[in-house]
Amino acid sequence: MSDILNIPDSKPASSVPRARQSELQTTGFVFDIKKYAIHDGPGIRTTVFFKGCPLYCKWCQNPESWKRHPELGFRTSRCISCGLCVEACTHHAITSIQGQPVTDANKCNLCGQCVDACMAGAREIIGRQITVSEVIAEVEKDVVFYDQSGGGVTFSGGEPMMQPEFLLALLNQCQVQQIHTAVDTSCYAEPDVVECISKRTDLFLCDLKHMDSNMHERFTGVGNNLILDNIKLLSEAGKEIIIRIPIIPGFNDDQANIEATGKFAASLPRLSSIDILPYNRGGKEKSSRLSPGTILMQTDTPDEKKMNSIAQALKNHGFEVNIGG
């Protein structure tokens, strides 16, 4: 950790730092790179999804991001019970039980032979180890779109700050290539990591899930003190911040929490806007593809009226509020 904290302060804009070769080979775990991301910051963006998250939010939209390392995904709905995966597995990790393939995680080494063999597209390896240069090559492809639209790249996840060396190397490369960067974060990270990352980041999308630390812990697995401190830290450092609140009915959509959120936001010296994102059931669907243990809650999607009233309550604190982000 210590070596990455000793980075020099950003140089003046006139001198463009050169790409550091060693950084280009830095690797990290990523589970998706999505082009034409239009809700993760300004303009047309590419969003790089990091794998691994310190939070386990019960409504999570991307439960495949929780584990840091690659894992096997399986869609029961697609499986045609052909048995080809059982045949293909040279480690004998897959057995057929009543026509359904069942994978023994202890024997599976994620070699991917069963994925190649699966004609129904029911099996996938979620996540891969990838170098900075590979990510940048993909991001670079859409520079013409960023230029036109004022877009750039967003590092999301999972929690990008859980892989600080990788993230920092990516941010450095983006700065070299003059690509706008956003980090979409839970802000659950060591403050020195946050500070170090902040020096290379143009925009932070900070998730804020609940103002009550106990509630936060019950639904995400961790308290919110560190998160609130980090948001303050970023704001006080003069960083551009958008606060993003997932609206989860029955968890954080009550008036008291919205008021407390508004007050906290108002206490920040600098804040661009607040996005409120309605809960959706996408995560529940995705979690069924993962190995057992990923249990998500299911609730209703908040209706338009509810979203508008929350937006208005936050606007009353003097913020620009966007629904959907």
Partner: protein, 787 residues
């Protein structure tokens, strides 16, 4: 939409197309009479046109402000037996087939049986054309290697410039007389032929004036019977308008629209031209009349809009004349491809041409929500973003209109073709996407060419596997090829063979139309037919481009990529294995097919492996075709578009190494193979831009879009996408906004819809990848969208 327009629109939308024998009967009467005896072909054509214009029914619909129908009433569809005489079986198919049906009454069938069929059998252009083709051509045509545009319709694809807003038919008559007088009979060996053409043009100009005058008379007659004073005064106004135009140049907004409409009807009555006719840059043509009307307080914006709406309905009242057989399969639609252009730049100084009428037309397109006329915006980097944004709002309604064209690239395309800068700026697209210089060009699309079929023949040593016949040249046993280049060479040789075959045939067909089917009316309004004394079909136009439209770039790329990747680069299978599997239509080779479909580079994902092959496929076509001479002093050019032919072409191609099964559609336009672009719209745009659009006369890119992606500022992102595609020199893009129906189709056929992206909420996902419940929820949500 006011009450008048609502009523007219309803009448137009609710009336089902039906066959009218009026034109066929009049043509038969004329050619049975002794008028044609001893007269030249152009003269006969002009006199038959005169006969039609003097005798066809006059129809003024209740409440309408712009008048004139192609047939006796809205949706009454005339036929053109001199081009293609439908037999009784055709008529039966027309009224019973599943799509694009036309009602055929018993009377129609009887008249056809007793009068039309007996007279025209053996005399049609269709028969002349087919009997002039050699066996090799027939073999290729029957195998589905190419289609033939002229077998049921006539060359057209013409667009009007501003000339009728400056001049009336009386002025054209003076021009014709002047040129005719100056013919040099002593030194110009063609002087007599030209004299006949001038005489024919002159007769046609009079015929159109007569036709308009008949409308004026009818309007007066109706006015005299009319009890409602408001309608009476409208009818008197119509009579006044029709007495003045198109004999003279229009004086006001209504006359401008009415004058165009008479010209439009005349073109599509004279012949059944492919892509009917087209007013081109309506916003630029109308703006001076609009300004004048406002200044003189004789017109207000509401009136102008109402007139435009009435004008729109006239287009929708005219379904394309019925097509049968392969021509129907390649273009199975009622749409007759009148494509109204707005925006772009001004011809003289290339300045931003967007004006108040541009926006008004977009309002009309949105409000009328009709499939005819088609509309497009021409977008130059000089046009303001608010114009593009407004167009995007209309696109968001899911009409598929307006399509968006890149003016700056169109100008480059035309300059590459040797046109003057002013003529280049005067031009734009017509039909689907192909560009020409408005008012100055005979731009002829002669047929689609089936690249995937040609690939299949290259794999099979020129033998068509479906018939066993030697359709193409022997280019070697592909299983013996030792390099990818050998396969590419075989493909190129096959391609060149069929291009030669098609061009040789086109040379004959062009002469058939020049000799037997001149279009003297169309020649009046196309520069420089009058100056040259030559017909539109005989090189009279200033520019004479010919096209053979390339189809299936996505499919061919993927098929070539599959062979290159698996046989030669990875050596994961042999050509023989691939050939065996495709011959078996992958039955028993599911695993190989899975690899070919899912683990093989595909065009459309911004990845060099496949996209570089796309470039090669385009270049080889360009080099084989571009610049070849036609018989009208013009040249062949390249364009890439499909209408609906990708389905027909797919039906005649067996299984291919990209995993596509026999009979499945080939890729359309410059789109990737169905469901094979999985990296989103930016990747697709980058891939499509690998083709050098500036060397074409048009390409067609269709992009599917989810309405949720267009909500809120999504519309600005869409505008950015378009600007980027155009920065990369893309020619055209249109958006198919996803409706619930498409998602239901994707539920049934997930394998064909892997590229369908939907916005779930905070994120987007591939529709086929999400669970059934969520799919249903999104379908329900889409249906609730109130755009």
């Amino acid at each position: 939409m006011n009450e008048r327009v609502t009523k007219l629109r309803k009448q137009s939308v609710d009336t089902r197309p039906y066959i009218s024998t009026e034109r066929a009967e009049l043509m038969t009467d004329f050619y049975k009479s002794d008028i044609p005896t001893g007269k030249s072909v152009p003269l006969c054509r002009a006199l038959s046109f005169k006969y039609l214009m003097e005798n066809k029914s006059i129809c003024i619909n209740d409440g309408e402000l712009i008048v004139g129908e192609r047939g006796p009433a809205p949706k009454a569809t005339p036929t053109y037996p001199e081009l293609c005489c439908h037999d009784l079986e055709d008529l039966r198919i027309l009224c019973t087939r599943e799509k694009t049906t036309y009602i055929v009454s018993d009377d129609v069938t009887k008249i056809y049986k007793d009068k039309i069929i007996p007279f025209w059998t053996g005399k049609t252009m269709r028969e002349k054309l087919f009997s002039a083709m050699d066996e090799k051509w027939h073999q290729a045509f029957n195998a589905g290697v190419f289609t033939e545009f002229m077998e049921q319709r006539a060359p057209g694809h013409a667009i009007l410039d501003d000339k009728i807003y400056r001049k009336g038919m009386l002025d054209f008559k003076r021009d014709i007389a002047e040129n005719r007088k100056n013919l040099d009979h002593s030194s110009d060996p063609k002087a007599n032929e030209k004299d006949q053409e001038y005489h024919a043009m002159d007769i046609c100009a009079d015929a159109v004036i007569t036709f308009a005058r008949r409308y004026a008379d009818k309007a007066i007659e109706l006015a005299q019977q009319e009890t409602n004073p408001v309608r009476r005064s409208e009818l008197e106004q119509i009579a006044e308008v029709c007495s003045h135009v198109p004999a003279n140049a229009p004086r006001n907004f209504q006359e401008a629209l009415q004058s165009y409409w008479f010209v439009h009807l005349s073109v599509i009555t004279e012949l059944n031209t492919w892509d009917s006719y087209n007013p081109g840059r309506l916003d630029q043509h109308l703006f001076p009349f609009y300004k004048k009307g406002l200044a003189e307080k004789t017109l207000n914006p509401q009136q102008a809009k109402e007139l435009l709406q009435c004008f729109w309905i006239k287009f929708n009242n005219q379904p394309a004349p019925p097509k049968v057989g392969i021509t129907e399969e390649q273009s199975g639609t009622y749409t007759d491809f009148a494509l109204i252009n707005v925006g772009g730049v001004t011809p003289t100084n290339g300045a931003d041409a967007v004006n108040d009428i541009s926006y008004m037309i977009l309002d009309v397109v949105e409000e009328m929500h009709l499939t005819q006329p088609s509309s497009c915006i021409q977008l130059s980097k000089k046009n303001p973003n608010r114009f593009l944004r407004r167009a995007c709002e209309v696109i968001r309604t899911g009409l598929g209109q307006p399509s968006v064209f890149n003016t700056d690239v169109i100008i480059k395309e035309m300059l590459q073709d040797g046109k003057s800068l002013t003529d280049a700026r005067t031009g734009g697209p017509s039909g689907c996407v192909t560009v020409s210089s408005f008012g100055k060009e005979s731009c002829t699309l002669t047929g689609y060419i089936n690249w995937p079929k040609i690939f299949e023949l290259a794999c099979n040593n020129g033998i068509d596997p479906s018939s066993g016949a030697q359709v193409g040249p022997q280019t070697g046993d592909s299983c013996q090829f030792t390099s990818y280049q050998q396969l590419m060479d075989a493909y190129t040789e096959q391609l060149r063979y069929f291009i030669d075959l098609k061009i040789n045939a086109n040379n004959i067909i062009e002469r058939l139309f020049a000799d037997y089917m001149p279009a003297p009316f169309m020649s009046i309004i196309t520069d420089d037919c009058i100056a040259r004394g030559l017909d539109y079909h005989d090189g009279g136009a200033r520019y004479n481009s010919t096209y053979i439209q390339g189809v299936g770039i996505g499919t061919v790329t993927d098929a070539l990529a599959a062979v290159k990747y698996h046989v030669f680069d990875q050596q994961s299978c042999t050509m023989e294995e691939l050939m065996t599997a495709t011959q078996a239509n992958f039955q028993g080779y599911e695993r190989l097919r899975h690899t070919l479909l899912n683990h093989t580079p595909k065009y459309g994902n911004d990845e060099d492996y496949a996209d570089s092959i796309t470039e090669d496929v385009f270049n080889v076509y360009y080099e084989s075709l571009n610049g070849r001479p036609n018989t009208k002093g013009g040249k062949y050019r390249v364009n890439l578009l499909p209408t609906t032919v990708h389905i027909y072409f797919g039906s005649v191609v067996g299984a291919l190494p990209n995993g596509r099964k026999a009979g499945e559609p080939v890729s359309e336009g410059i789109s990737p193979s169905q469901g094979c672009d999985t990296k989103g719209p930016t990747a697709l745009i980058k891939s499509a831009a690998r083709i050098d659009h500036t060397r074409t006369g048009g390409t067609l890119l269709n992009m599917k879009f989810n309405p949720q992606l267009l909500a809120g500022d999504g519309i600005d992102k869409l505008a950015h996408l378009i600007r980027v595609y155009f920065t990369l020199d893309g020619h055209h893009i249109q958006f198919n906004v996803i409706v619930a129906e498409m998602m239901r189709k994707a539920q049934k056929h997930p394998e064909q819809n892997r590229d369908l992206v939907v916005r779930v909420a905070g994120y987007s996902d591939y529709f086929v990848d999400i669970g059934r419940d969520l799919q249903n929820e999104i379908i329900a949500r889409t249906e609730q969208q109130s755009f």
